[in-house]
Amino acid sequence: MADIMKLRLKFAEAGDMRWLSHLEITRAWRRIVSRAGLPVAYSEGFSPHPKIALSPALAVGVGSEAEYADIVLSDHVPAGEALDRVNFCAPMGLRAVAARAMDLRAPTLGSSIKIVDYRLVVARELPEADIATALNSISASLLRVEHGGKRTAVIFRLPVEAKLNTLILSIEESLELQSTLRTIDRVAQWVLVDDSLVDPIDLDRPGMDENGKAQRDINFDGRI
């Protein structure tokens, strides 16, 4: 069977799904796609594998609002229908939020995603100056700080190749967070198109930021 289309899904890993490894999430998608009855294409050979590729690995313990899966199909399925079908078959916490039919030759997620945004939430108040210093020390750029009750949310941006776990450890150390409850989520992943940041699910449209505002400038301070 020939490869007919590439379906790109944007999905969230909510709740306990953060505790699964990249491999386990990949296996889960293989089962979901099979249950959903999507005509997924397989590799050749003695041990054929479905052509499913996920965006760059997310560390165990990190949740996400912006993961992506590229699934090669051997038949046409409207993106909206595919979205409904996978959501009907997915376990709690794995939820597809958008789907798009892509050109089969579109660059892979792995090669095109360059920049990733994270949100660190700690159950404590943090002075902004300390946050800035801490992020500076790991070459991350600070996007936003949100204070609410006794919680602080720090949204920051990193190049995709940065080793998140190592960085988190050094942030924890410089902010003295070791014994504080914290969660980390990936909130966005970006592809660069003509110097603009574009959501991989949105490739032919201008990128939007988290607030839905068109975002044409690279909000990255050039320290990659």
């Binding site: 709740g15 306990d16 799904m17 505790w19 699964l20 490894s21 491999l23 386990e24 999430i25 296996r27 889960a28 293989r30 089962r31 979901i32 796609v33 099979s34 249950r35 959903a36 997924v40 397989y42 003695f46 041990s47 054929p48 594998h49 479905p50 165990v60 313990g61 078959c89 376990p91 709690m92 916490g93 409850l181």
Partner: protein
């Protein structure tokens, strides 16, 4: 509640073991009676257990009953739980299992016993049944429940046999108790009621003064009869099996195509305690397979039984299942095949171009010893099966053998090597020297462990020294680079043997070993024979003696009050016949060896 576990998860390996939330998980907000099915091994092993999947669905299909799961925490998680005083919780609701009405342990192998104690303690409950009050009731089932005595003092009740129907009766009984008296009432009333359910053994109602047989009291039955499912074709098959995120040991759909086995191998406990053989119709198997595939998304299915190629409709069943083949990755596997030509032909059909490996179990090296164990297999069969496998395109086969079988001599051990060399020689003749050079034979050798309710329950276990000697002998005879020889841990087999045929006197040893840190004893990198030997010394039991103990035919057995359906007289006769090297017929042959299991509506259910 779930929040208690969250801070521990970043600190453990594979946190996915502790989160639940898998496809097809059932979470019940309201339930009159709740049971936590407890599997005393790590998640990836426990989730491969078919019984767990069956009971999970049987119970959760009933509106007022709730069933959740809990597995043994890996040592890293245990350390975290103890450090933070976090109780053991069930996966579905994250509720402590001490708040359930029942905790139901699955006893699949003896070397999980210390994990059982660990789980009871991590639940915050006293280890000894006599020291617990009210609910939950801690109950156990599974093959090791057939000699419940070593663990008897830790369980409130032990279920003997097939639980699909009885679990409902047990839960009903707990419901009545709860409604009438409340959770914390005197549990003796409930225990008495449970002891009146067929198949339920309440150890506290049998007095032990050091000897056997045990004597029942307070109206408990003198012998506890094993429960058997009749009309197996109609018995529940999971429709929506849980689909783990983690890669488990058996990561696929499983349909039990037959329960029980007609062969009567004399070392085999399963061959006795699942009698008589009952088959499912090919159409039933096909329909169940379709349902499971649709509800799980798995691309592989395994047709499980003790001897798959004996099923009288195996060809039709495979046809049904292969036709489901909805994806290029679709795969059917048949574990436990006979060592014969027919089985290889079947294997060839399902393997197609993907001939990864084929497993046979000749078990012993000589025809004589195979007659002793009633394997019903000659050297010619084994050679033909191997030749057929190689000529059909397999380049790798795996052979299972046991050492330490009753009456075994050095000659029998050396004959294992002879048989393997004969197989390689035959392959050279058939395929030519060049092609034969590419072949690999993986040989896996385990030590025979005598098990309760098998004809060899009276036999003795060989000592670690004898095992080492026979291993050396075999290693010396098997020098071909085409042969890859693997041993099963010799020392853990000793503990397994001591527990498998032990009585209540083993309880202090198990408790002591647990106290000394024994966990996951079935895992070779966790097992410590020294710990067990020391536990034995402190409890006044010599583990090595207990393992190799020969039981005399007239001795009362610790499990004499457990009626597995097959008579003790038949087992004794089988043991005698084995020593005389006389084989006993297969139940399918049409003649009957009068094992005693077929009575009261229980009979062999063979399709054709």
């Amino acid at each position: 509640m779930k929040d208690d576990l969250q801070p521990l998860l970043p600190k453990v390996r594979r946190p996915g073991r502790y989160i639940g939330g898998e496809l097809n998980q059932v979470v019940k907000k309201e339930a009159g009676v709740r049971i936590a099915l407890a599997f005393p091994d790590v998640y990836e092993v426990g989730m491969s257990n078919l019984g767990l999947q069956i009971l999970y669905e049987v119970i959760n299909d009933l509106p007022d009953f709730g069933c959740e799961r809990v597995f043994a925490p890996w040592p890293d998680m245990e350390a975290q739980m103890r450090q933070t005083r976090t109780p053991l919780t069930a996966l579905e609701s994250a509720r402590p299992i001490s708040e359930f009405d029942l905790i139901g342990f699955s006893l699949q192998y003896e070397l999980t016993f210390t994990n059982v104690l660990n789980m009871i303690e991590l639940a915050g409950l006293p280890l000894l049944a006599a020291e617990r009050a009210g609910l939950p009731i801690v109950i156990a089932g599974g093959p090791c429940a057939f000699n419940p005595e070593p663990m008897a003092l830790f369980f409130d009740a032990v279920f003997i046999g097939e639980a699909e129907e009885a679990i409902v009766e047990i839960m009903e009984s707990v419901r009545e108790f709860k409604e009438e008296h409340g959770r914390n009432a005197d549990r003796n009333k409930l225990l008495a009621a449970l002891s009146r359910i067929d198949g339920v053994y309440v150890p506290g109602l049998y007095s032990w003064t050091g000897g056997y047989p045990l004597v029942s009291q307070d109206g408990a039955p003198a012998t506890v009869k094993r429960r058997v499912i009749t009309d197996f074709d109609k018995a529940p098959i999971p429709k929506r099996p849980l689909v783990p995120f983690l890669e488990t040991v058996h990561d696929r759909c499983v349909i039990e195509i037959m329960r029980g086995c007609t062969r009567g191998c004399r070392f085999c406990q399963a061959g006795v305690i699942y009698r008589p053989a009952r088959e499912r119709a090919a159409a039933t198997i096909g329909a169940a397979a379709k349902t499971q595939i649709k509800n799980t998304g798995y691309e592989e299915i395994s047709l499980a039984s003790l001897s798959a190629t004996d099923h009288s409709e195996i060809t039709a069943a495979l046809q049904e299942v292969r036709e489901i083949g909805f994806s290029p990755a679709w795969r059917v596997s048949l574990p436990s095949m006979r060592t014969d030509k027919f089985s290889v032909e079947i294997a060839e059909k399902i393997a197609g171009a993907r001939k990864t490996g084929l497993t046979f179990a000749p078990e012993a090296g000589t025809d004589r010893l195979r007659r002793v164990i009633n394997k019903g297999l000659t050297e010619e069969d084994a050679l033909n099966a191997a030749k057929k496998a190689f000529s059909s395109g397999w380049t790798r086969i795996k052979l299972y053998f046991m050492i330490g079988l009753p009456t075994e001599t050095d000659e029998d051990v050396s004959a294992i090597a002879l048989l393997i060399n004969k197989i390689l020689e035959a392959a050279r003749l058939d395929l030519g020297a060049k092609a034969a050079k590419r072949l690999k034979i993986a040989v896996s050798v385990s030590s025979f462990v005598p098990k309760a309710h098998s004809p060899f329950q009276w036999a003795t276990m060989i000592t670690p020294k004898e095992i080492a000697g026979r291993q050396a002998l075999l290693r010396g005879d098997l020098r071909s680079r085409q042969v890859e020889l693997k041993w099963h841990e010799a020392a853990s087999s000793q503990v397994e043997a001591a527990l498998a045929r032990g009585g209540r006197e083993m309880a202090p040893v198990i408790a002591k070993a647990y106290e000394l840190g024994a966990r996951f004893d079935g895992w070779s990198d966790h097992f410590s024979f020294e710990t067990w030997r020391r536990a034995g010394v402190e409890a006044g039991i010599d583990i090595d003696q207990a393992a190799k103990r020969k039981i005399e035919p007239d001795d009362a057995l610790p499990w004499d009050h457990i009626d597995c359906g097959v008579t003790k007289a038949w087992l004794a006769k089988e043991y005698e016949r084995s020593l005389d090297e006389i084989e006993t017929v297969d139940c399918r042959s049409g003649s009957c060896s009068q094992c005693g299991v077929c009575k009261d509506g229980i009979k062999m259910e063979i399709r054709s």
